[in-house]
Structures are given as structure tokens and as C-alpha cells.
Symmetry: C2
Subunit: 341 residues, 2 copies
């Protein structure tokens, strides 16, 4: 196993770390034939590793005592804890030892640390979080999902390019359909920011090689009519949280009804395999975390509640994001835009 | 039956008009002991009425040939069709013959027509649409749901007041909890508009008698932690459409699994009464349409797909909005604010 197929994992990050993070790494190492740097407190990580069969797996431990906690202020924690596990994981990427980094820890800190360590791709105005949602048909990336609250039209234009490249290379969508999130499909709809962005995307779509399908509405995200939905990070965060909350509330209601009597419980048991398929489709763990696009390298921010499967998938995505040249393609795309202007 | 308990219905408005609109009116007249003006083409309305037992019910028909179609441009349609059914319904409110008006027709036109006919309550900057969503616990009004895309903090402040009064008087919530929709709960979170609105609401809450609980996130809408969630109409529209789309997509997925085999169908049949309870909770038809708050009178915009039950509930809400003095309370609240300044 060569160092070139290793990914770095913040083994201490997330509500279920280190047990689920280490297990996810073990699973990824075996299933995807890749190496995983486990960054964090060596004794704790070794104790977790000892619980699993790691025979023949490439799971080097990189020790550090410092960990950024979930409730710390992102920017100041990153400044203060120079040896925090997520920072060391990102440094392995910067130094070429790892293809990408994954953390399920403090997501604001992971964002700040990625920006600080990997820097922006030349030409990128603002890196953005691209969250992948399940749809009726396949999957849809909503970008930005919370990195930038106030956005200029030029930022949104870049989000469109970054999302398109990601969905093409990681989700194998050819010529991804890019929609601009608005309050109506007509070109005239939207707030001032969106109306301007619409015109900008329309003008630059052919230069950037974007399949811009115009404005889309909230229902198009689950509806699967677009592969990438572009919005600012304020709206994207509302979309993310509402989606999670609605899914949970609806499943809660169903669960209550399905366990309200013995007969209902029996009926629910019969439906279980099918329902499990539905839940699996809705499970963020399947989608491998949220890439921070626009930084010079592969950085994946996983859900704080990530279980081993989520970590395993995030490690796979971190590797693919690097191997399939997402960052390079973003830089190339943006240079076309600046050549045009 | 006196004229003072009549509500005006645009009998021609909505995808299921006139059959479901007329039926909804018949049901409301019987169930709530109220009169309903049926505004539209008399022959068509009479033909529908003839299908039902209307004995003893107060269902006067107000004839007009003009109808605003779903795909017409709202403002120009309202200007051109001076005798459109929704306009005549609103004129009955303006002239004191009806307590309120309901239309499931072109919602943009109903909004423009309401503003044009009823005018704004003195002091109101922008009337807003208040949509009521089911929550885990009860119901939550999201305001504005699409009337105003670009909003100043002062508009959002007024939306908070209008939503609070509505939830208190129509949903009987005492001291409604007002949340400001943001990308995080901390006071510092939000885009520029939201950060400024937060301060404005904080300062004016006691003057306005608002129970302002601070920033809330998307998950708080289904979560039921706020009774009123304030946002601009761009974000509110995204929330509405995403909510509808997600609910539909999830139910589609469940339905597919539940009918995928004979055994599953049988199990689903056992669960049906319970599931129906869930679907009923999620059904917009239960919540009686969306009030346009801030106009001088009671105007309810119903979903284009409204069935008779949705129309019946909207007629009830239109009556209550008037009888419980929502518009007057909004005017009184705003005058407190201007007295303060």
C-alpha cells in the first residue's frame, strides 16, 4: 500500500468519536483498499483499534493531545490549538502525505482550519459547503450550505461551477443540471441577488460549460429536477435544517403510529425491510459528508452524529475528490472565466 | 341569518372550482351556521348548488362573467378585469357586506386584488402572507411566505407583530413564541438583514407585547419550538415549497414500499387508520388557507389544489379573522410602535 492512497481522519472529531470514527476507518481500509491516518490521542485510538481485526490494514496513528471541542469558537480554537487533530489531518493533505482529510468534529472549526491550511484555489472568491440531499430519483447538491451568509452574485456563479464539477466527478452525473434557487421559475423571480445571479449564470454558462436550467423552487430539491441547486449559505442552511427537521418529525409521527398497538407493531414488522430502504435513502450517512469546495485539496466535513458508515463513506469521498481532480478542475474552470473577461 | 355573518367566496378560483368550492361553501354554511356569497358565473354555480342539499342555507350568488385565470399576470389581470370574481368578493368585504373573502385562484392576483381593494392598515409597510405549518406539537406560522422578496428589518418586525396577533386570536396560542429564522441560534448569526432585525425585535418586543425568543433554525419549524417564524418572502417561499416537496417525496417513497407486495399491502392496510392520522396532520387543507395580513380586512388565499374541506376551513378562518379583530389589533399594535418612536 503506497502513501498515495492514504486519507487523513480526525479520529477525535464527532459525537461518536473515537469508537465510530476508528471503526469507520477500519471498514474503509478493508472495503476500499486504502490507508487511513488516524489523527488523535494515540492510546485511545490504539485501544479502539485493538477491538477490531486490523490485520494487513494500513492504519498509521498520528498522535496529538489537542482536540477542538464541539462548543469552541471556530476561528479562535483553530488559532489557539495549533496541534489540534483536525489541523494535523489537514496538514497531512497540504504536505502531500494524504489525499484528503475528514472530520466529524466542530464543523465551523474544520471549515476555518481547511481554509487556513489548504488555502483557496486561485480565483475562488469564497469556498462553499456542498451538501448532497437524496431526491426521488438520485441526489442533489445544495451549495452553499452555510459557509457564506451574505453572497454576491459572483460567489453564487462560482458555487454553480464547483457544484457542477463535484456532481460530475463524484456522483458521475453527466452535464449536471444547475438550478438557481428562487421563489418561482420565471427569470424575473427572486430577490435582487438572485435576479442578478440569474443573468450572470445565463451569460457565462457556455464559457463555464454549465448546464444552467434556470430558476428552481424549494420543491425541486427533493423532486430531483436539478443535480445542483445554488443558493447563499443563509438559505442553504435553512434548507438543510428544515430538511433534517421535517424528515425527523415525519418519521417520528410514523413511528408513533406504527407502535401504537400490538397489531400495528406486527404490521410494521412486515413492512420493515421496505421501510428500511426508505430510511437508508434518507440517511445522510450514505452520502459521505459535505465537501468544502474551493480550497486547494480535499476536505470533507461530516455530520457531528456520524456513525462508522458515515465516516467510511466520507473517507471514500475524500479520496475520490482528490483522485478525480475536483480542485484542479475548479481552478481550470475559473481561469476560463477570467480569460473571458 | 344576518348579513353580518356572511363570507365571500371566489367560487371560480382554484384547480377544483367550481365543484369543490361550491361544496366547501355548502359544508361551511351548514357546519358553521354562516352565510357564504358565491361569486362567479351564476348558471355554473346554480348547477353545482343543485347537486347538494342546500335547504335552509344562506348561499346568495353574486354573478359575474369575469374570472382571472391561473396563468395570468397578477397585476395586469387585476387592472384589466374589474369585475373578476375575486375582486367582487373583496368588494363585498370592503363594503361591509361580507366579513372576509376567500379565493383559491391565482394567488398573486388575489394578493394584488386584496391590497388594491382593502388597502393597507395605516402604519403597515408591507402586507405579508402567513402560512401555517403542522409541527410535532401544534402549528407554526411562517411569515412572510412569499409576498415580499426583498425586505427591510422594519418589515420583518411588522411581520412578527402580525403573526403573533394571528396565532393568538385564530389558533388560541397565548403569548405566541416568535422566532427569527436564521442559520444558527446565536444572536450573532444571520445575514445582515437578520442580524439587524434581531436587534430591532429585541428592542421593541416589550413595546409590541411580543414574546421574542430569538433566532431559530429551519428545524424549529417542524420541531414546534416557535409559534411564529419570521423571515422574508424569498426564504419563506423556499421553506413552503421545500416543505411541500419533501412531504410528498417521502410519502411517495413510503407508498411505493407499502404496495410493493401483497403482504406489504395487507400490512399497510392494518396501519391505514394510524397513517391517515399522520397524513391529516400534514394536510394543508386542515389549516384553512393563508391570510394576507396587514390589509384592512380579512382576505384568505387558499391553495390552488384546495378541496371542499380546505375551502370550508378557509371560510371559517376568514370569518374568525374578522370577528376576532385581527386587522384592528394589528393597527393598534403598530400605533404603539409609532408612539414610542
Amino acid at each position: 500500500m503506497s502513501a498515495s492512497v492514504r486519507v487523513a481522519l480526525d479520529a477525535m472529531g464527532g459525537d461518536k468519536a473515537p469508537s465510530e470514527t476508528v471503526l469507520g476507518a477500519v471498514q474503509a481500509a478493508r472495503e476500499y483498499d486504502m490507508g487511513v491516518y488516524l489523527v488523535g490521542r494515540e492510546d485511545i485510538i490504539r485501544a479502539e483499534l485493538a477491538k477490531h481485526d486490523t490485520n494487513g490494514l494500513d492504519l498509521p496513528v498520528v498522535h496529538t493531545d489537542e482536540v477542538i471541542e464541539m462548543d469552541e469558537h471556530p476561528a479562535s480554537a483553530v488559532r489557539r490549538k495549533k496541534n489540534a487533530s483536525m489541523l494535523l489531518a489537514l496538514q497531512l493533505v497540504r504536505d502531500g502525505a494524504a489525499l484528503g482529510a475528514v472530520s466529524a468534529g466542530n464543523s465551523g472549526a474544520m471549515m476555518a482550519a481547511s481554509l487556513f491550511t489548504l488555502k483557496r484555489i486561485p480565483g475562488v472568491e469564497r469556498p462553499a459547503l456542498g451538501g448532497v440531499f437524496p431526491t426521488k430519483v438520485n441526489a442533489c447538491m445544495v451549495i452553499d450550505m452555510g459557509a457564506n451568509t451574505d453572497c454576491k452574485p459572483e460567489y453564487l456563479q462560482q458555487f454553480a461551477l464547483m457544484g457542477s464539477i463535484y456532481m460530475e466527478r463524484i456522483f458521475n452525473v453527466s452535464s449536471p443540471r444547475i438550478g438557481l434557487l428562487a421563489n418561482g421559475e420565471e427569470e424575473s423571480k427572486g430577490n435582487q441577488q438572485v435576479v442578478e445571479t440569474h443573468q450572470l449564470l445565463k451569460r457565462s454558462a457556455s464559457t463555464l460549460g454549465l448546464n444552467f436550467i434556470g430558476n428552481v423552487e424549494g420543491r425541486d430539491i427533493p423532486g430531483g429536477t436539478a443535480d445542483v441547486v445554488v443558493c447563499d449559505g443563509f438559505v442553504g442552511n435553512v434548507v438543510l435544517k428544515l430538511g433534517e427537521g421535517l424528515g425527523e418529525a415525519l418519521l417520528d409521527l410514523l413511528r408513533t403510529e406504527m407502535t401504537s398497538s400490538l397489531v400495528n407493531k406486527l404490521a410494521a414488522a412486515i413492512l420493515k425491510p421496505g421501510l428500511r430502504k426508505v430510511f437508508k435513502r434518507l440517511d445522510y450517512a450514505e452520502y459521505g459528508g459535505v465537501p468544502l469546495l474551493g480550497v486547494n485539496g480535499s476536505a470533507i466535513i461530516s455530520h457531528g452524529r456520524s456513525n462508522a458508515r458515515a465516516i467510511k463513506n466520507a473517507l471514500r469521498v475524500a479520496r475520490q475528490t482528490s483522485e478525480r481532480g475536483v480542485a484542479k478542475a475548479i481552478g481550470d474552470g475559473l481561469s476560463k472565466l477570467s480569460a473571458e473577461v
